[in-house]
C-alpha cells in the first residue's frame, strides 16, 4: 500500500514545487509586461544592498568595500558617437586641406 502511494506522493511534491515556483514568478510580475519587468528590476536593485548587509551581519565577516568606478559607459558611448560623427562631417575639408599642404610641400621641394 505504502509502496504504491510513495511514487504518487513524490510526484505530487515535485508538481507542488514546480507550480509554486511558477506562481511566485507570476505573482511578482516577472512574467508580465515590459513596464512591470523594469519596475521589478528597480525593486530588486533597491533590495540587494540591505539583503547583502543582513547576510554579512549573519555570517559575521566584512566584505571588502566595492571600489567606486568613475566610468560611465553611457557617457563614453555618447561621446564616442559624437566624436565619430564630427570626424566624418569634417573629413572632406580636412582631407582637402592636407592635400593642399602636401602639394604645396612638393612644389616647394621641386623649386
Amino acid at each position: 500500500m505504502a509502496a504504491k502511494i510513495l511514487p504518487l506522493v513524490k510526484f505530487a511534491t515535485k508538481v507542488t514545487i514546480a507550480g509554486g515556483a511558477i506562481y511566485v514568478a507570476y505573482d511578482s510580475g516577472l512574467l508580465g509586461d515590459g513596464k512591470e519587468g523594469s519596475v521589478t528590476l528597480g525593486r530588486a536593485k533597491a533590495a540587494i544592498p540591505p539583503a547583502v548587509e543582513e547576510w554579512v551581519k549573519y555570517f559575521g565577516f566584512e566584505l571588502p568595500a566595492t571600489p567606486k568606478i568613475e566610468f560611465s559607459p553611457l557617457d563614453a558611448w555618447n561621446s564616442g558617437v559624437q566624436k565619430s560623427i564630427h570626424a566624418l562631417s569634417v573629413a572632406p575639408s580636412t582631407v582637402s586641406d592636407y592635400t593642399k599642404q602636401g602639394l604645396k610641400y612638393v612644389k616647394d621641394l621641386t623649386k
Binding site: I17, A18, A21, L30, L31, G34, G37, L41
Partner: protein
C-alpha cells in the same frame, strides 16, 4: 514618437530582457532539477522562453505608438 520616449522604451526593453532571461533561467533550473534529472535542455529551453517573451514585449512596446486604439461608445 519623440527621442526621449524612444530612449525610455529601449531602457524598459533592456530591463525587461534582463528580468525575463533571469526568470526563464531560474524556472528552467527548477524544472531541470525537479523533473528532468539535471539535464541541460530544460535550462536552455527556459532561457529561450524568457528571451522570446522579452522580444515579444519589446516589439509590442515599440509598435504601440503606431497602433490605432479604438473605444466602443456605450449605447445610451
Amino acid at each position: 514618437m519623440s527621442e526621449k520616449e524612444l530612449g525610455q522604451k529601449w531602457d524598459r526593453c533592456l530591463a525587461d530582457c534582463a528580468v525575463k532571461l533571469g526568470t526563464g533561467l531560474g524556472l528552467g533550473i527548477v524544472f531541470s532539477v525537479v523533473f528532468f534529472k539535471r539535464r541541460t535542455w530544460p535550462i536552455v529551453f527556459g532561457t529561450g522562453l524568457g528571451l522570446g517573451m522579452a522580444y515579444s514585449n519589446c516589439q509590442n512596446d515599440l509598435r504601440s505608438h503606431y497602433v490605432l486604439h479604438s473605444k466602443v461608445a456605450k449605447e445610451e
